[in-house]
Symmetry: C2
Subunit: 323 residues, 2 copies
């Protein structure tokens, strides 16, 4: 079973060995900070999903729970000081769920981008790859890094925060408080910021985006405007690709991966985002890396990807116990 | 035995289990591109060093050869298109040496910065650490990355080129042909470039560095001028630290290491370089990483470090065969 804990909702689903979601449910992520209530709500949903499947086939076995959550620490099984969740401090989520589900073979947690990377490896485009990276572009920019077939957690469990590498010295304010991070440029809100800067720069009252407020604008609108030939929208993608290409090149110089997968809403724009990203990335690379590293769209289905990715964590845990 | 192949000389030395160099030799690295001559010269030196030790103690056994060289590929045992060496194309160095020394338990090659990282792990400050990074500052900027106790080679053997991450978009020309790479700012030649820029900016005819030509200047002179209170020299270190701090923060966001070790000539300047580097690094970090990652000078003795680091590769290989 995969569980994706988001700021507003928590999605739960039973996933088969091929990455198909058999049944799913969604419960509100509490805003009251009461963790024991949340564990109870999740436990009810987990049992209901299990029972509904067993009515269809009594032989179905739930192997474990894989959980994706912001600020999740794989090593300790905790969620630590997550700014977008109402729970304060360090929450021992894995331990609390183990108390309710002692019969399960594995319960593990990691952050959403790491879950996406494991999902890509178990069910998606990274099957058979030993060294690859996933970048998730959305409200923020996250990443999951796989080296020698294993996710990189680093010394303390928090590795894979490529979205917070500095792309522009003393640049835009990032949500984390630092300046010039990739996330401030290449997340969906970052693309909105770029659109506004360009409208201001060109005094572009005839742009299709000029009638939208900052709060109304989203990355899908920018894509639609680009498809209609809007110059501002097209330049938003060119600049986003310039910054993202720099970021990907930095990641390649660190890790020399076989491929980098791009996941999330803005990637739906296809070559509007992929072409400038790849072109700019190549200009930043050492000759030994040029025309060698594949930049690919994620093969996980957008809608269920978070659940599917989180569920893959269970398979990864069981593999580890086998070794 | 550790062997360090440099552009001008090749240093060879027998290293004991504690990282002491027992005997060493140096031969010129050929400029004629004749690899079989070079293999012969190295083989003579290896046998002479072995024999000289056996005169002192007939029980001494050479376990293997660890080689550090530019553009070395650990996976294939080759040196590939090294711009600073006279050998063209792909040189199967490990295979050639294995033919001459079939009795040895391990012969392996990697690049100089990876050798420094393994040296730090086997003999130096990283003993017992599972996740750390070594940055080597010299003619270039190299790096060796250790994750879960193993060196990261990536998909093709070339991981750990942190010196080529982009620090300034469209910035200074790097030796590799790209623009704005860390190496163009934080290598010893990069520091000279900064010194010249500052002298030009301030019209600083009274600087202690203003009487030196670009070709005469070196990073030691900049350090000595800084110690005498020279404002240009001090600002060179401040700016170098600003750029290096950005680079280290990017590495931390990727890998969350326990420590990053700095190795090489410019690190002799101590706090002139460490203080601004650490200060600037901290400003770029996510809160979860702040005041957590140690930035330390390498514990390998400067003079013999390349030989000692390369020799450590043999121990790492033998460990692997045990598992």
């Amino acid at each position: 079973m995969g569980i994706d804990i988001g700021g507003t909702n928590t999605a739960l689903g039973v996933v088969d060995r091929n990455g198909n979601v058999l049944v799913k449910d969604s419960i509100p992520t509490p805003t009251h900070g009461n963790i024991s209530q949340f564990i109870d709500d999740m436990s009810v949903s987990i049992r209901e999903l299990t029972n509904s499947l067993r009515l269809l086939n009594p032989e179905i076995e739930i192997l474990g729970l894989g959980i994706g959550a912001p600020n999740a620490n794989y090593y300790t099984g905790t969620i630590e000081h997550a700014p977008n969740l109402s729970f304060k401090g360090v929450i021992p989520l894995v331990k609390l769920l183990e108390t309710n589900f002692p019969e399960l073979k594995a319960i593990a947690i990691t952050n959403d981008a790491n879950a996406a990377a494991i999902g890509e490896m178990i069910y998606g485009g990274a099957k058979g790859m030993k060294n690859f990276v996933v970048y998730t572009l959305g409200t923020g920019v996250g990443s999951g890094i796989v080296v020698n077939g294993d996710l990189v957690y680093g010394h303390d469990g928090f590795a894979g925060e490529c979205g917070h590498m500095t792309i522009v010295a003393d640049g835009r304010l990032c949500g984390c408080g630092a300046k010039g991070h990739l996330e401030a440029y290449c997340s969906a809100p970052g693309m909105k910021r770029t659109a506004l800067e360009l409208i201001a720069k060109y005094n572009a009252s005839t742009s299709l985006l000029a009638g939208k407020s900052f709060n109304d604008l989203d990355s899908k609108m920018i894509f639609e405007a680009a498809e209609k030939g809007d110059k501002v929208a097209i330049e938003v993608f060119e600049l986003t690709g310039k910054w993202l290409g720099m970021g990907l090149a930095n990641t390649i110089h660190h890790l020399s991966p076989e491929a980098i997968f791009l996941f999330g809403g803005p990637t739906a724009a296809g070559n509007y985002i992929f072409r400038p990203t790849i072109e700019n990335m190549e200009t930043h690379l050492l000759p030994i890396f040029k025309n060698k590293v594949k930049i690919l769209p994620s093969q996980l289905k957008q809608g269920d990807a978070a659940i599917v990715g989180a569920s893959a964590l269970v398979h990864k845990e069981l593999e580890k116990h086998l070794n």
